[in-house]
Amino acid sequence: MIRIEKLNKAFGKLKVLNDVNLEFQKGRVISLIGPNGSGKTTLIKSILGLTIPDSGDILLNGKSILKDFHYRNSVGYMPQIGRYPEHMKIHQVFEMMKDLRSTQTLLDEEIIGEFGLNSLLEKRMGTLSGGTRQKVSASLAFLFNPLLLILDEPTAGLDPVATEHLKNKILKKKNEGALILITSHNMSEVEELADRVVFLVDGTIRFNLSVEEIKNDSGETRLGKALAKRLEGGVYA
């Protein structure tokens, strides 16, 4: 569904993405992990069109996205920190997004209800807590029934109940055939959701394996330990 070919990006002298090649099929959850500054965010932003790569290509269903913006009709994005016009109410933010996308697709408002946002619709964005704003961000990401979902640290700041709702929603979307890219530091979450794990260091892919492969290789039953073992062992490091 998505293919990334020889993607390179440098900020000044700093190479952030180094010949990245990846390919994912639909109906999967992919977890991007790596230390800070490893290039995860740049990779996501390249797919979203927020960052423009120096060379290489990104193909969505066989079509390059680099000079196009229409593909974003089928992309949902939840940023790590969402900030919205302060004086706008929650329902106005939803309406604005619907208006801006002027989409004919069916809307998926399920998670808005699950997050309990319906009772907060009249609140202004500037008065919301970080967690509630994350709920709004997540709701917006799912709202337009995207084929590709990009979630940047989605559960950071969410309360446990909301986190559960979000996880369920992610799995549901996966089963409906969407491709979901998640960056996360939370290994139990990765274990719970991900089909594959992509590990980036200094803009280079150190490995791209399924969760089972990682566990089997290390003989550990828990992903976190398996990963730690793998990294300490220096097999790929």
């Binding site: 900020f11 979203l48 927020l50 009709n73 940023p79 920190i81 900030r83 919205y84 016009p85």
Partner: protein, 255 residues
């Protein structure tokens, strides 16, 4: 663009800074009319305010708004919207809001006390300076990812056009006072939108007589209908060039 613009206006209209700006302008201008003698001297005082405050507020408001909206702009960029439309939407949202503030803060006192050609030109110059300095603010903002640097370079731009440029001009004119300076004087005016706006208003006031031969030269050049069009066109260039550069940079910008 119109959709983005709509939401920017909605948001900015509720900001305290914009309301404060409107009230500040209104208080200062009404005060001038109330305390002043209501003749061209008052218009000159208003001119001082417009030339100092409008560019400064526009450039500060423009940069601060841009940096505060960065995450929102990023979110918009992840939507199926052309980048150009996002930036232009933000730009016209700000300029529209600031112009409304100016039209209320300055326009209402003018309508109440001195509805004259010179005051209307002053208002027009104020609106144009709002557009120009917001464009410069956006140029400074899109060029720099760092908020402090962005605001710093915006303030530097303002300082350049308000102070440094005129200081250089004064130095040039007094160093070369033995040479024929008719053409340089006209050209030097065109290279600073604040100076251009000031001359446009002064020429509509009897104060222009004080400019003596220079004033006669200006009147000859800018005073006619064609001259007004010419200076308006120049101000539009000052608006469009930074805006085009901003859009160009923004289109290739990494968030």
């Amino acid at each position: 663009m119109r959709k983005v613009l709509k939401y920017v206006i909605y948001d900015v209209f509720r900001s305290k800074m914009l309301i404060g700006y409107t009230l500040l302008l209104f208080a200062m201008c009404s005060g001038m009319y109330y305390l002043g003698s209501g003749d061209s001297k008052t218009t000159v005082s208003l001119l001082h305010i417009v030339l100092l405050v409008v560019p400064l507020i526009s450039i500060i408001f423009g940069t601060i708004h841009y940096y505060n909206s960065r995450e929102f702009i990023e979110l918009l960029m992840a939507q199926p919207i052309r980048r150009r439309r996002i930036l232009l939407g933000e730009y016209f949202g700000i300029t529209f809001s600031l112009s409304v503030a100016l039209l209320i803060g300055l326009g209402v006192p003018i309508a109440l006390w001195d509805f004259s050609e010179s005051s209307l030109i002053l208002l027009l110059v104020g609106v144009l300076l709002t557009f120009i300095f917001t464009a410069l603010a956006f140029l400074a903002s899109v060029r720099s990812a760092d908020k402090a640097r962005g605001i710093g370079s915006a303030l530097l731009l303002w300082f350049y056009f308000s102070v440094i440029y005129d200081a250089l001009v004064l130095w040039l004119l007094s160093s070369f006072s033995d040479y024929p300076l008719e053409k340089p004087v006209l050209i030097l005016t065109a290279f600073n939108p604040i100076d251009l706006g000031r001359v446009m208003v002064l020429l509509k006031l009897d104060t222009s007589a004080l400019m003596g031969y220079t004033g006669a030269l200006y009147l000859d050049f800018f005073g006619s209908g064609a001259g007004i069009l010419y200076s308006l066109a120049l101000l539009l260039v000052w608006l469009i060039l930074p805006l085009i550069f901003s859009v160009k940079i923004f289109a290739k910008k990494d968030m």
